[in-house]
């Protein structure tokens, strides 16, 4: 690409896509805080959430700066509605198997682990590429985030193998979570207009280029975990284009209500 004609800043919608993924999964994983299966995992999930929310903050700050007109990280996180969010549908799903009520008592740690694994395996590849983005600010955010998601991948992969290659019960739950969640990853490989724009400007990643590496990461872990990859196919979700499941509204209601009840509040 000719450097003199290169656009060196990421499109705002692309930043929001990356930020919303991090924020919504961070908010989801934070639901385990105080309810983790053991205290070490409780802390681990809180650490994971804070990493993701930290990534979201950097991305929102950058997006707000681009957007101008008084936008701030808070206005982007707390004052946008469901159709404005650009996260994958995968990250907004509750921690429950498909047919269970999304109640706290029905939360399933295998679902949490499988989702974190599928998402972290993608983000390791995405941040690796974005480190070399001509957008220097995005490249700096990528370098910092990469270290964090490397650990998220290690943690979730470790538990995936322990569950899959564990007891009959843990194997069955891990397989059910995989069967439930893997179809949602088809959304990774269907570029949104924001991703296409970012890719064409040279600033973003071509997600299609990552699919083979992601498959290798996933298949390697599934083999070690003695889990079977479900057959692909079916509906492709479109969360990153603003078409969400019924679950996102409930997350936003919980996450945004305080900021909306007391706009501009500080402490």
């Amino acid at each position: 690409m000719d450097a003199s004609t290169a656009v060196s800043t990421a499109p705002t919608n692309y930043l929001l896509h990356l930020a919303d993924n991090a924020l919504i999964l961070g908010q989801r994983n934070a639901e385990w805080c105080g309810h983790g299966p053991i205290i070490e995992e409780d802390l681990s999930m809180a650490n994971n959430s804070l990493d993701l929310i930290g990534q979201a903050r950097l991305l929102y700050q950058y997006a707000a700066q681009q957007q101008g007109q008084g936008a701030t990280e808070d206005s982007l996180a707390y004052f946008r509605d469901v159709p404005d969010f650009r996260n994958y549908t995968l990250v907004e799903l509750p921690h429950t198997p498909p047919l269970a009520a999304p109640a706290r008592a029905d939360r399933d740690y295998a679902t949490t682990i499988v989702r974190n694994f599928l998402y972290s395996a993608l983000m390791v590849l995405v941040w690796e590429r974005l480190q070399a983005s001509p957008d220097a600010q995005l490249a700096a955010i990528a370098a910092r985030s990469l270290k964090e998601v490397h650990y998220h991948l290690r943690h979730s992969r470790d538990w995936l193998v322990r569950f899959g290659d564990g007891t009959d019960e843990s194997h069955a739950r891990a397989q059910a979570a995989l069967d439930h969640l893997l179809p949602y990853t088809a959304e990774f490989w269907t570029p949104s207009p924001a991703e296409t724009a970012a890719q064409n400007s040279g600033v973003g990643v071509n997600v299609g280029d990552l699919q083979a590496d992601w498959n290798a990461l996933v298949d390697d872990a599934l083999a070690e975990a003695t889990l079977t990859r479900p057959v692909p196919g079916g509906y492709i979700t479109q969360g990153k284009q603003g078409v969400h499941s019924e679950h996102l509204g409930f997350i936003l209601a919980e996450m945004q209500s305080l900021a909306r009840a007391h706009p501009g509040a500080t402490w």
Binding site: P37, I38, E40, E41, S44, Y151, R154, H155, D158, R162
Partner: protein
């Protein structure tokens, strides 16, 4: 003694105990900072990372099976430790340390 089975998570009964040592800075020694239950060494290391180094406490972690530690018996305290109490000559305080030596 009767124990309340429900109050103890199965994992804590099945997973062995590990002692965690964290080095806070290059050049300093690893210090004991706590213990946790884990199924194996790698598992214990990851848990120690999440529990004991989340506020930048460390640059290196050791985990040791608690069962591998031989400990002195509190009942042996008198014969083990009390005799040292009145042997002040074992402290190197009877020498003049030359200035050139500096801090010891």
């Amino acid at each position: 003694m009767s124990t309340d089975q429900k109050s103890t998570a199965p994992a804590l009964k099945e997973w062995p105990l590990w002692e965690v040592f964290v080095r806070s800075k290059q050049g300093l020694e690893h210090k004991h900072c706590g213990s946790l239950h884990a199924s194996d060494a790698q598992h214990a290391l990851q848990m120690a990372r999440d529990v004991y180094t989340r506020r930048q406490e460390g640059v290196s972690i050791w985990v040791v099976p608690s069962a591998a530690i031989a400990a002195s018996d509190p009942g042996d305290k008198e014969e083990f430790f009390d005799p040292a109490a009145d042997k002040i000559y074992r402290h190197p305080t009877f020498y003049e340390i030359p200035d050139e030596v500096g801090h010891m």
